[in-house]
């Protein structure tokens, strides 16, 4: 009983923490996530048409027809089939599924991350910001080809711009995800995937990897800053003159497995415009960055696994 008492004491504290504001998926920051939320409400709502009555029936029937009430209620032990009920039992789910499937197909057409028709409608004249993303073990590398800038574990984009993301990975599959902002898309070695999104207003978000990729996976997060176009230009300016980065430097210092505790950002000047393509080609040619058992086991230890970032 003492344990239950402890739980009772802790309960208000824990409840207070479970506020709805933590559930970030309910607070989208751009049209893509807003559409996802819209469909969530729509589909869940339609499901409720059948779930709520069924749930009530599953609670009400056992009470109503409990054996202790046998003198009050009808008992039909041989009633085992009814065309009406069977037609309804198949028909109602069928109708609901038809509507839901139609909605789902339309939803996925609208937000196809490769080239979402949704953004063409919602933000037709938005300027395009291209970012190439490389997931390494275990950091996020963001390449701004137009700005000749490379950042690690920080994605800064102009608010209101349409961000076209190309994704790949050095060695393992990772999920690229910014809740409230962008659909989840996998970053895969030797492959190239795409994601597209608009962040409507300036703000700060967190992105992270969603597909397990090894010992440093839990630390694979990056800060996302949506800033005004003027601030974006200023931000680009402020990192002019950072250390140069070409494929050789990337291969030697960034790609080998390492954990960036605390996701400390670092910045480079892109000197090799083909870097993204070279990473894909290297993976296709069989390039791997072997993770030894020793590194796997030691990864929790700050000293054993060198912190990456600026060299």
């Amino acid at each position: 009983m003492r344990v239950f008492g402890l739980v009772a004491l802790l309960a208000p504290l824990m409840l207070a923490g479970c506020s709805v504001h933590n559930m970030v998926l309910f607070f989208p920051a751009g049209p893509m996530a807003a559409t996802e939320l819209h469909y969530t409400y729509l589909i869940t709502g339609i499901m409720m048409i059948v779930i709520v009555p069924t749930l009530l029936m599953s609670l009400w029937f056992p009470i109503k027809y409990h054996i202790s009430r046998q003198h009050k209620e009808k008992y039909t032990p041989d009633w085992t089939f009814s065309y009406v009920i069977e037609v309804l039992a198949w028909g109602i789910p069928l109708g609901i599924v038809a509507v839901l499937a139609w909605l789902s197909v339309h939803g996925i057409q609208a937000i196809d991350p490769w080239n979402p028709p949704l953004l063409a409608k919602a933000a037709p004249n938005a300027p395009v910001e291209e970012v190439d993303v490389i997931a390494t073990d275990w950091q996020w590398v963001f390449i701004y080809p137009a700005e000749k800038l490379v950042t690690i574990d920080e994605l800064t984009v102009p608010a209101g711009a349409r961000v076209d993301v190309k994704l790949t990975s050095t060695q393992n599959m990772n999920g690229f995800y910014i809740p409230q902002v962008a659909p989840m898309v996998d970053a895969m070695p030797a492959m190239q995937t795409k994601d597209t999104f608009v962040i409507s207003q300036p703000g700060d978000f967190t992105g992270f990897s969603t597909d397990f990729s090894g010992a440093g996976f839990s630390w694979m997060r990056f800060a996302v800053h949506a800033v005004t176009p003027a601030d974006f230009t200023a931000w680009v300016q402020s990192h002019q003159g950072a250390a140069p980065l070409d494929y050789a430097a990337f291969d030697a210092h960034i790609a080998p497995p390492q954990v960036n505790y605390g996701a400390k950002p670092s910045y480079f000047t892109l000197t090799d415009p083909k870097l993204f393509g070279e990473v894909i080609t290297a993976a296709q040619m069989g390039k791997t960055y072997p993770v030894s058992q020793a590194l796997n086991k030691a990864v929790a230890d700050d000293d054993a696994a060198p912190t990456a970032g600026a060299q």
Partner: protein
């Protein structure tokens, strides 16, 4: 052309060195000591009471479907406990390791488990719960109940049945030994690719995982063959297809999935093995390999596997709900149709597991819609159970409690499943703990139905009921734990928490983690009540009589209770769908008046020996001990060859002996030692 491996290799022991034994790990060593002590006590007790011969003859050599089923269920319950402990450790880690300021113990930066150890634990949790807990539990139930429900003496292939069991045991033993020798896979239960390749996973963990599920899934394929052949060929006279009880129908659909989906897993794992052992490039990222192919092959099996598990649970509900509603099952023909629809559609939807991998909207739309269609027959089943209760006379014995909560969980799991199948929603919660909470809802349906079935049919096998009071304590604590764990988990999923985190960077998630930790501790109480229920019931052993629940309906209750080793004294002629309740109502005879000789197969030690050999083979492959691989492979072929020369066709129990057994049924209970029988009673043919 073997792949070179990291670390030392010797011809005698392969990769196995003293370092492989984690003698300095503060968690594994106490576990080992406890396990070793428990093992020593068990072995000591067997030797002290001189039961070694009994266990060998009556259990390890048994080909009796009921004993095999009981051993399956014991394996399932033991592994369920192991899987639960893994879950407890995971939850505790996540409850501690929140935010950069969270403390670290035992050498971990945050929490008490370094990532590598944590990753193994959740990989083991998933593998064990699905492959070595749920599957044996349900396979065991099918083994016990199906032959009884169709009026058969045994399965169609009793020796193959024993072989399936011991292959499953061999797989489970590989998982268990990985705890103390070497390591388990850190690549999750699905074997992430290309992460499971040598470059990222040079250790033996993936090998352990791969061979464990490879071996046990071959056992499952064999079992599926057996179930289909039994139901198609061994039904009692008079049992037409539409007198086949729903549980048996469902076992048939399940076995069809087992027969057709598991071979694809065999292919996926074999190709992965070729990559890891011979250095081919099936699933590597480079050299023309394609890891998306592995994901595709794995889920061709993986999604039907979900229905492989949940369909038997639906079958259990279709037996338990009518029994405790004192009313025949509503909508029997549509129940059968729904089972086949679920199995069939479930075979076409696997790609929804990789919506985020980059498929085009046409394909995603197709798989999304197809996935939703599974909701239709599932909904039909729920309605039919509800209308079975409607105008019934319901009582709340523990099996019924489990069945009712199963329906509620199914509705919640179905709602969230429909949400996830809408790819536009999946794009925001794929790989989040929302998905984890959803499929745990579904496996709780399976778990609850399995508990309902074990409690419901327990007296059929053992002759006494489980303690109802403790059973209800077990039920309520289990449900309280489930609510505490999984409601916050759904919320954390909507808060954007991703799966498989050994360090939770978002401090806002702390309250959810604490709730889940509280829930998993409440589960501990339910484990305690479960064990207590078993101990008290075994201690009391109140004879349950011929009709333990008073409301039994199916043919399986027409044998004596507990069921004797020969099942039916005389094969029944089936007249109605619910034969036993029909005979009671119509006043037809429940017992035969004269007896005939019964023909039964002999036991054999070869399936057990084969299982042990396959275990050694898996161990040798894992550690790359070449000579042992060759030796055990030759032994496997030799065992099959030797078995083909065993032309003993079983023995005959004379009619008088059957009559004597039937008169004094306690002597025939499942623990009784059978009298020694000479060979060749039937003799060689011609």
């Amino acid at each position: 052309m073997q792949v070179a491996v990291e670390g030392p290799w010797s011809p005698l022991l392969g990769r196995l060195t003293l370092d492989a034994i984690p003698y300095n790990n503060p968690i594994i060593v106490p576990t080992f000591i406890v396990a070793a002590l428990a093992g020593l006590v068990a072995v000591g007790a067997v030797l002290y009471y001189k039961k070694l011969g009994y266990i060998w003859r009556e259990w390890l050599c048994s080909v009796d479907h009921k004993k095999i089923g009981v051993m399956y269920i014991i394996l399932g319950l033991v592994m369920l406990f192991r899987g639960y402990v893994d879950g407890l450790m995971m939850r505790t880690q996540q409850a501690i390791a929140i935010g950069p300021d969270s403390p670290g113990f035992l050498g971990a930066k945050h929490g008490y488990l370094p990532p590598f150890h944590f990753d193994q634990i959740y990989s083991a949790h998933g593998t064990i719960m699905l492959i070595f807990a749920a599957t044996p539990l349900l396979t065991g139930l099918g083994n016990i109940i199906v032959p009884l429900q169709i009026g058969a003496r045994d399965m169609a292939f009793p020796y193959l049945n024993a072989t399936s069991l011991w292959l499953t045991f061999a797989g489970a033993a590989l998982v268990m030994i990985s705890l103390f020798v070497g390591e388990f896979s850190s690549a999750t239960w699905v074997g992430l690719m290309p992460y499971s390749e040598m470059a990222s996973n040079p250790g033996v963990g993936v090998d352990y995982w791969m061979w464990a599920i490879q071996i046990s899934s071959i056992g499952t394929t064999f079992n599926s063959i057996n179930i289909i052949a039994t139901i198609v060929k061994m039904r009692a006279p008079g049992m037409t297809w539409f007198k086949l009880p729903v549980f048996s129908w469902v076992q048939l659909t399940t076995a069809i999935i087992g027969l057709t989906a598991f071979p694809i897993l065999t292919v996926a794992l074999t190709l992965l093995g070729l990559d890891r052992y011979l250095g081919t490039h099936f699933f590597t990222a480079g050299m023309g390999g394609n890891f998306m192919l592995y994901i595709n092959l794995f889920w061709i099996w993986g999604h039907p596997e979900v229905y492989f598990l949940v369909l038997p649970a639906f079958g259990v509900l279709s037996e338990v709900v009518p029994a405790f509603s004192r009313k025949a099952l509503f909508g029997y023909p549509t129940m059968v149709a729904a089972s086949f629809s679920i199995a069939g559609i479930g075979w076409m939807v696997w790609a929804h597991h990789f919506f985020t991998m980059g498929m085009g909207p046409d394909q995603i739309g197709f798989f999304s819609a197809a996935t939703m269609i599974v909701g239709i027959p599932t909904g039909v089943k729920a309605f039919n159970w509800l209308f079975t209760m409607y105008r019934g006379r319901i009582s709340y014995e523990t099996p019924m409690l489990w069945a009712m909560i199963s329906i509620v969980l199914l509705l919640i799991g179905g709602l969230t499943g429909m949400m996830l199948s809408a790819s536009v929603i999946d794009y925001s919660v794929h790989d989040s703990v929302f998905v984890v909470a959803h499929f745990h809802c579904m496996v709780l349906v399976i778990g609850a139905a399995a508990f309902a079935a074990v409690i419901f049919w327990w007296p059929k096998v053992f002759g006494f009921k489980l303690n109802e009071t403790l059973g209800k304590w077990f039920f309520w604590t289990f449900i309280a734990g489930s609510v505490l764990v999984f409601v916050p988990m759904f919320m954390a999923g909507l808060a954007g928490e991703t799966r498989r985190l050994d360090y939770v960077f978002n401090t806002a998630l702390a309250p959810y983690m604490l709730w889940e930790e509280a829930g998993v501790l409440v589960y501990l109480a339910s484990v305690g009540f479960f064990v207590l229920m078993l101990i008290v019931s075994l201690w009391q052993r109140v004879p349950a009589g011929e009709s333990p629940w008073g409301t039994e309906r199916g043919l399986e209750w027409l044998t004596r209770t507990p069921v004797p080793f020969y099942n039916f004294a005389v094969t029944p002629h089936v007249n109605a769908l619910d034969e036993t309740s029909w005979r009671r109502e119509a006043g037809a005879a429940l017992r035969p008046t004269r007896y005939v000789p019964i023909h039964l197969p002999h036991g054999s030690g070869l399936p057990f020996i084969l299982g042990m050999d396959v275990f050694a083979w898996g161990f040798a492959l894992t550690w790359r001990i070449d000579w042992l691989i060759i030796l055990t492979t030759i032994a496997m072929i030799a065992i099959v060859f030797i078995r083909s020369f065993d032309r003993n066709e079983g023995f005959i129990i004379p009619a008088e002996e059957v009559e004597a057994y039937e008169a004094n049924i306690n002597t025939a209970s499942i623990f009784a030692e059978q009298p020694k029988r000479g060979h060749g009673l039937v003799g060689e043919a011609h």
